[in-house]
């Protein structure tokens, strides 16, 4: 829950960029698009899980109602 997550997302981003570049050079356009979308979904899942834990913490801390 700290800087490692940011680096993970950045790492996924860079990885996806490299993979897309390679696939484009090989001429596989649709595979490149699929890989990009897959990378995005992976990163988003990480972020969404973090936001879910955030919301749960907020609800737990401020559960005066």
């Amino acid at each position: 829950m700290d800087v490692s997550l940011l680096f993970k997302i950045a790492g996924i981003g860079i990885l996806v960029t490299v993979i897309v570049q390679m696939l484009r050079q090989n001429g596989r356009e649709e595979l490149a698009t699929v890989a990009a979308i897959a990378g995005l979904i992976l990163a988003m899942m990480l972020v969404v899980s973090m936001i879910a834990s955030l919301l749960e913490t907020v609800q737990r801390t401020f559960s005066l109602y």
Binding site: V3, L5, L40, T61, L64
Partner: protein
């Protein structure tokens, strides 16, 4: 703080290559910062309950105030994320939603007030 610095620089880096990741990184760093702030406030609930019981303050008022605070901050966060992504419409929609929720939190107290005023008028003019 360190997280904010790293987050913003990484987002800037990503913006040139893959813009969508910049939004995600911004979102994630904001969430990390918020979690860090919240972890400092862990004992607040018990403290507030104890204060309310000791001094016989109606806890509903404090609960409403805290709820409004939470909704306001979360709405702010979401609106900023949406604006970062360049989606003004989503930001505007979230803003309206947040405002409506905040105002609806104050409805019970306003209704109780009206009831109190009506009973007072009934008492004063027999």
């Amino acid at each position: 703080m360190l997280i904010a610095l790293i987050g913003s620089v990484t987002a800037l880096l990503m913006r040139t290559v893959r813009p969508e990741y910049a939004v995600l990184i911004g979102c994630a760093s904001g969430a990390i910062l918020l979690l860090g702030a919240l972890s400092q406030l862990t004992g607040i609930r018990e403290t507030m309950q104890r204060i309310c019981e000791t001094y016989s303050v109606p806890i509903a008022v404090l609960a409403t105030v805290v709820k409004i605070l939470g909704i306001a901050y979360l709405t702010e966060f979401g609106v900023n994320v949406a604006r970062d992504a360049g989606q003004q419409t989503i930001a505007g929609g979230l803003l309206i939603c947040g405002k409506v929720l905040i105002l609806s939190c104050t409805l019970p107290s306003a209704a109780a007030l009206l009831a109190l005023g009506a009973s007072l008028i009934r008492e004063a003019s027999p």
